[in-house]
């Protein structure tokens, strides 16, 4: 059922958490028993219909699923090519796809009898989603956030505090998402008895990449059904932005065995891949080991991790989920870089044409669509994950556009 399934792209990871050469369990020994316990608990939960039922309940009544698959008619017309559909994850409670995963993990934490939750956050979306489910389920919550991100995402910081979470600024390393993850791991290694670590993206040691993907696959499963209803056929392309890559893998996974579907991930190229100031680990990095998994990373020749750079805090990470690394290497998905400037243009265009202010993260995917849709036929279909709303980004965008608020 593992790598012996060559006619499916959906059969991995293997029992040790490998997606081909990627993934694995590269963690300190103190954490190994916890990770093995989590793996078993997840396996049990997956096999338990009551767990699925509970999850479906909260996704429907608390998150607000299913959310629409929206035909972006004016954007499609404007670009003059393919029909563009948005999967509206921005309409979820808390305004992004992150909550899908948080519901799954907090229900698992409850099942395991854990009494304290920790999380890392970049843009603050995952932090807000975690703080939200912690409030809902009555568990204390500590969120680690780089001091640089605290500065550029202050509305989300305040949101988390309103929800009762403790936001701990991280001032080590580059003061952003990777350092927040280091600090969360340090917390976990210290509080092994009672703490559950809700990782926000489909990365980290096994079973996180698999588990987060499964929880986010609701995006792709719904989209598949909705596009069949709307168009009577599958899309020609599915596209999403990738930081760690959880919304993307959630959209992609149900389509991976549909050979005719072009699978496109969009990376943050910051100031440009050639400048060195970017977060495009698949376009410009190479395989290495960080945060529990082997995956593409930005690093120097000595194996030291480089700081990522992107206008979007949610994409500002020097790595990527291991399944994306595998999909790239075997050629099932392609990954394209989009600069800060291109993403800003897309942010404005989407706001003006569709009345939807997109998050800067998924503005990268819109920017890629602006390049590709015009070259496609009017009978072709692009399905994009609009992973989050852009309200949190208005200060960053205003600054980038030289507007004083």
């Amino acid at each position: 059922m593992t790598s012996s399934a060559p006619n499916s792209f959906r059969a991995l990871p293997d029992p040790d958490g490998h997606f081909g050469n990627f993934g694995g369990r590269f963690v300190a020994e103190t954490l190994m028993p916890l990770i093995l316990e989590l793996e078993q608990a997840y396996k049990d939960a997956k096999a338990d219909p009551a767990f699925k039922k509970e999850m479906d309940y909260y996704l429907r009544h608390y998150v607000g699923r299913e959310n629409p698959l929206y035909f972006a008619e004016r954007l499609s017309e404007h670009l003059g090519g393919a029909k563009i559909y948005f999967k509206r994850e921005d309409l979820n409670h808390t305004g992004a796809h992150k909550i899908n995963n948080c519901i799954g993990q907090i229900l698992l934490a409850k099942r395991m009898g854990k009494t304290r939750i920790i999380a890392e956050t970049g843009a603050g979306q995952h932090g807000v989603a975690t703080a939200t489910v912690c409030a809902r389920f009555g568990l204390p919550c500590t969120v680690y956030m780089g001091s640089k991100d605290i500065e550029r995402q202050s509305p989300n910081v305040f949101r988390m505090r309103l929800l009762g979470a403790e936001v701990k600024p991280v001032v080590s390393g580059s003061n952003s998402l990777k350092d927040a993850m280091n600090e969360a791991l340090r917390d976990w290694v210290t509080n092994v008895e009672d703490t559950f670590y809700i990782i926000g993206t489909a990365a980290g040691p096994h079973p996180y990449p698999e588990m987060v993907r499964d929880f986010q696959s609701v995006i792709g499963n719904e989209s598949r059904q909705q596009i069949m209803e709307a168009e009577g056929r599958l899309p020609d392309q599915v596209i999403a932005s990738v930081g760690g890559g959880s919304n993307a893998i959630g959209l992609f996974h149900p389509f991976l065995d549909d050979k005719g579907v072009d699978v496109v991930g969009v990376e943050a190229a910051g100031h440009g891949v050639h400048t060195g100031n970017h977060a495009a680990s698949l376009s410009a990095g190479r395989p290495g080991v960080l945060h529990g998994n082997r995956t593409y990373l930005l690093m120097d020749d000595d194996g030291q991790i480089k700081e990522a750079d992107s206008i979007s805090a949610g994409l500002d990470y020097p790595g990527i989920g291991p399944e994306h690394s595998w999909l790239k290497d075997i050629g099932r998905a392609r990954y394209e870089p989009i600069t800060d400037k291109e993403a800003l243009e897309a942010f404005k265009l989407c706001s003006e044409l569709e009345g939807i202010i997109p998050a800067l993260e998924c503005s990268h995917a819109i920017a890629q669509i602006m390049k590709e849709a015009p070259k496609m036929g009017k009978d072709q279909i692009i399905l994009m994950c609009l992973s989050g709303r852009g309200d949190k980004d208005i200060f960053t965008v205003a600054e980038a556009l030289g507007v004083e608020l």
Partner: protein, 282 residues
């Protein structure tokens, strides 16, 4: 074969045999290679055996030391800022080996810099430089084919960390493929955090001894000669890291540069710790 490339397991085994003969525990000291700069770090390293270090752990700097507390994180940053990299780390070991043929050197760190160097080439170069063993924090037994097995095949020791979360079910897996000694991390946490109680250490030693005949070194949170002595009563060796590294930090000038006190402050602390360890069982 030159003396420098004696298999690492021999040098470690010999050292523990000697300690047993002297009926005392050993002192294992940790510093980060290149901290605060390559030259000063080399000077400190050379003086450690005379100050009383029986075994030396030399940290390989890494940008993202996920299991380390602030003291060792900062040491890594100081070293990297001073231009440290893996080849220089190995050349420091080579320089040390030219003058000391007996004190075991264990390289300690994270996997990525080794992986990027190339495992086969790294092991070849490390062995030739006179390295005796490796401790790689983010390689549990589940990942043994990555580095542990090739290390053992090369005749070097792969030393495993065992922790308070290593129960009787987990320990057999931890002690297989390991050699040299077993490092017991006495508290669940990052380096430099709180220390374990005597009772906890006694209990853990009993558990470990049921699963291995290898010597056991106990570390994490040992800051003073008294604490080192307490551990030395129970364990085959006491490991001190963050306290030594903090001493380096304390010795620096306002620009974070080494001063003429840096080496002597470190060796001063190591002397105190060694006294504690050496007199513990008297």
């Amino acid at each position: 074969m030159s003396d420098a490339i004696i298999g690492g397991q021999d040098r470690i085994a010999k050292r523990f045999a000697k300690l047993k003969e002297e009926d005392r525990a050993g002192l294992v000291t940790f510093i980060t290679a290149g901290d605060p700069d390559p030259e000063t770090s080399f000077e400190i390293l050379k003086q450690l055996p005379d100050a009383g270090a029986d075994i030396i752990e030399l940290g390989m700097p890494f940008t993202d030391p996920m299991a380390d507390g602030p003291a060792i994180q900062e040491a890594s940053i100081r070293a990297l800022d001073a231009g440290m990299h893996m080849r220089k780390t190995l050349s420091i070991v080579r320089g040390f080996r030219d003058q000391d043929h007996e004190t075991p050197i264990i390289l300690m760190g994270y996997y990525n810099p080794i992986y990027i160097y190339g495992v086969a080439e790294f092991l070849e170069d490390a062995r030739n430089a006179g390295v005796d063993g490796l401790i790689v924090v983010d390689l549990p037994p589940e990942e043994d084919p990555e580095l542990c097995i090739p290390t053992v095949e090369k005749g070097l020791s792969f030393i495993r960390l065992t922790t308070p979360t290593s129960d009787d079910k987990r320990l057999p897996k931890l002690v297989q493929n390991t050699s040299g000694f077993v490092y017991y991390v006495s508290v669940a946490g990052v380096t430099g955090a709180g220390s374990a109680s005597n009772d906890q250490i006694v209990e853990a030693m009993g558990r470990l001894k049921r699963h291995t005949d290898l010597p056991i070194a106990v570390g994490f949170g040992i800051k003073t000669a008294e604490q080192a002595a307490d551990v030395a009563k129970q364990a085959d060796a006491a490991v001190v890291g963050s306290a030594i590294v903090s001493k380096i930090a304390e010795s620096l000038d306002e620009n974070g540069k080494a001063t003429d006190k840096t080496a002597s402050m470190v060796t001063g602390l190591v002397r105190e710790l060694a006294n504690g360890v050496r007199n513990a069982r008297k």
